[in-house]
Symmetry: C2
Subunit: 220 residues, 2 copies
């Protein structure tokens, strides 16, 4: 479960203040399947970064499963991100020198999953997102939408309790996006994984149980 | 005008052959406004890379304005890309250490446009894509959709005769995408610039005069 309490983020550029998020109140119960939409620059990525603990708020607090993120040590926070949260970055953030499979295995290896199981699970997830046969390719030798799906596979492979996905279908055609959303929906239904998507894609919005809108850093 | 004659591209991975494009025949007259759609991995980026001369075909040829690209010297080809073609990359390819404005100015500077005119034109184009006030920001301090618009601004700033845009609205909400397409359409109408887009976005397809579909590397 995610709780955002009066959450705010201000960036600073020289002497200029940029209020990217303002007083966000949000409650996302365990097992929810939620879409966050809003214009370019409205604060979606910022909100996801704060919820994941990748960035720190200027005001307010984030709670994951009742735990306040700002009260965790650096180690406890990185532990939470490793074991309990899967993150799909808007720009994928794949490791260029690793193959698609190695990129997907990486998180499970860090979690201490045995090598054979990492490999099987990575292959299985890559097949589920339609990338069977491409496991050995490096990101530079994949299409944009294929790279995006490796990023999604990496986030879901270890079935973490919470998935934060930043525009996960931006570079996918509607058919590929549809298959992906069906996969994520079934993971939500079968494993009770909580999903929070930021998206511009009406298709993704159609799959969500609930739609949240951001405008100029505020919920509307 | 663009002509693709029996254009093919095969990638090689170890001893594996990947036929990404197969015998593409294409004729795009000057001033056309064309969309290229197709599933993820169908060859859209590959085709754009071949048309721009950024990559070389395995079979067939590309002609821009009647000139065969494979008969140009390295200098003539890079000259053509600098002066006659604007390219919007699927992954933007912005220079991280330059501001948004410097990224947009870069091409005009290389073209020998006077500094004052570069600056004015860059500011004007950034305002036209809705980024007024963000000119001094570096890419890392911009949202995904804002970075995408800097990449578009950079390609159109010097009003080249041909624009190749690889999924230019992928990270934009529908309202921002709409404004962008209206801008590009007006440049097509007022300046006779030729546009070839690769896209998954129905909104972009609605603006195009003509729709081309790729499937598994072949036109359908
Ligand atoms: N450098 C490369 N080496 C090997 N295969 C490649 C390379 N680049 C692309 N491919 C393959 O060629 C095919 C076409 O890729 P391309 O990037 O043109 O697709 P696309 O239509 O742009 O896809 P998307 O919509 O996902 O961006 C894909 O199957 C891809 O995996
Ligand atoms: N590091 C930063 N420094 C300054 N301003 C920033 C920084 N990162 C983001 N911003 C600004 O904060 C605002 C919100 O950015 P954010 O990336 O959250 O938007 P977004 O809703 O994800 O947009 P998009 O749909 O384009 O991805 C934007 O106006 C952006 O320019
Ligand atoms: Mg974003
Ligand atoms: Mg592509």
């Amino acid at each position: 479960a995610i709780q955002c309490i009066d959450l705010g983020k201000t960036y600073y550029q020289g002497n200029q203040e940029i209020p990217a998020l303002k007083g966000v109140q949000l409650n996302i119960p365990k097992g929810d399947f939620v879409c966050l939409s809003g214009p370019s620059g409205s604060g979606k990525s910022t909100l996801l970064n704060l919820i994941s603990g990748l960035d720190q708020p200027t005001t307010g607090q984030v709670r994951i499963g009742g735990t306040r993120l700002d009260q965790l040590s650096k180690t406890q926070l990185s532990d939470l991100r490793l074991h309990r949260i899967g993150f799909v970055f808007q720009a994928y953030n794949l490791v260029p020198v690793l193959s698609a499979r190695e990129n997907v295995e990486l998180i499970m290896q860090l979690q201490g999953v045995p090598a054979k199981q990492c490999r099987q699970q990575a292959n299985s997830v890559l097949a589920e997102v339609g990338l069977e046969g491409l496991e050995q390719r490096r990101p530079a030798d994949l299409s944009g939408g294929q790279q995006q799906r490796v990023a999604v596979a990496r986030a879901i492979a270890s079935k973490p309790e919470l998935i934060l996905a930043d525009e996960p279908t931006a570079n996918l055609d509607s058919q590929t996006a549809e298959s992906l959303m069906q996969l994520l929906q079934s993971m939500n239904e079968q494993h009770g994984m909580t999903f929070l998507f930021s998206t511009h894609d009406p298709l993704v919005m159609n799959y969500s149980k609930r739609l949240i809108r951001l405008h100029d850093g505020a919920l509307v």
